[in-house]
């Protein structure tokens, strides 16, 4: 484990009214890690999509279980793991949607995971039906990293 690794953990009730605070807090941590505004926006959206899926699919909109976020920052990578102990699903049946087909059929939904894959550098889904899901996504920290504290 590299010595400069920093870990953050957020656990919020799995309800959609918490998505805003989760986005804002993760954005702040990404800003501290040195990302520029564009990259912060991408991380914010990817995390929101993963958390919205927890509320909508894993907990099916109800219940009082937590969304659990772990954020690991080292010199090279900013990683967020979004975990739930909800319904789980069969990851092998996940197809990245064909956007042409998607748009022509004017389907509603099915965009979240596509967004996550597009915005993040590394993405990994682990899910056990009946047990829950872990979504691990990372963004590489390039040379853009500046001094992290503005005092």
């Amino acid at each position: 484990m590299p010595r400069k690794q920093k870990k953050y953990r957020l656990k919020f009730p799995g309800q959609s009214d918490n998505l805003e605070i989760i986005r804002d807090t993760v954005s702040r941590i990404a800003e501290k890690a040195g990302f520029d505004e564009d990259n912060i926006n991408m991380i914010e959206l990817a995390v929101d999509e993963a958390c919205a899926n927890v509320v909508k699919h894993a907990f099916q909109g109800g219940g009082n279980k937590p969304i659990d976020l772990e954020i690991i920052v080292d010199e090279k990578k900013f990683t967020i793991v979004v975990s739930d102990r909800g319904t789980g699903f069969d990851v092998n049946k996940l197809k990245r949607p064909d956007m042409k087909e998607y748009l022509s059929k004017k389907r509603v939904g099915g965009l979240g995971i596509h967004i996550i894959h597009t915005l993040m550098d590394e993405v990994q889904f682990e899910s056990v039906p009946g047990k829950g899901t872990h979504v691990r996504m990372s963004k590489f920290i390039k040379n853009e990293k500046k001094s992290t504290v503005k005092t």
Binding site: S16, D17, L19, E20, R23, N41, E44, L45, D48, E49, A52, V55, K56, M99, K100, L103, K106, R107, V108, G109, L111, G112, H114, I115, T118, L119
Partner: protein, 116 residues
């Protein structure tokens, strides 16, 4: 907290929805009812003005997908205007500019309706 607000205006027969705040899985239902209202009132020419919208996620994009077909069948349209670069990037990411009329200014959206 910033919240989300939809203001409904009528501009010579065109319904204009002005969005403010953030549009995510929590606030998307508010936009959904606003669009449903337009349709219930038989208003099929709709402009959505994004000027004061600060954030959008796929739950927000999904709302438009849910209405576009019905509106176009009734010879109407949903035209989108005044997006910030940040908001446009999300639409662009998913190829929405191929499906929706996205205009710089509300005025342009209005005149493109009137030309039809």
């Amino acid at each position: 907290m910033e919240g989300f607000e939809v203001t409904h205006r009528d501009d010579s027969g065109i319904a204009v929805l002005q969005l403010k705040g953030f549009l995510d899985a929590h606030t998307a239902p508010t936009l959904e009812s606003a669009l449903q209202n337009c349709i219930d009132e038989q208003k099929f020419k709709i402009i959505v003005n994004f000027e004061d919208l600060t954030y959008i996620s796929s739950a927000g994009l999904g709302v438009f997908m849910g209405f576009i077909e019905e509106v176009r069948e009734k010879s109407g349209d949903i035209k989108l205007s005044n997006m910030s670069a940040k908001i446009f990037r999300v639409f662009d990411l998913l190829g929405f500019p191929a499906l929706y009329d996205i205009l710089d200014k509300e005025e342009e959206a209005k005149s493109s309706f009137n030309k039809q």
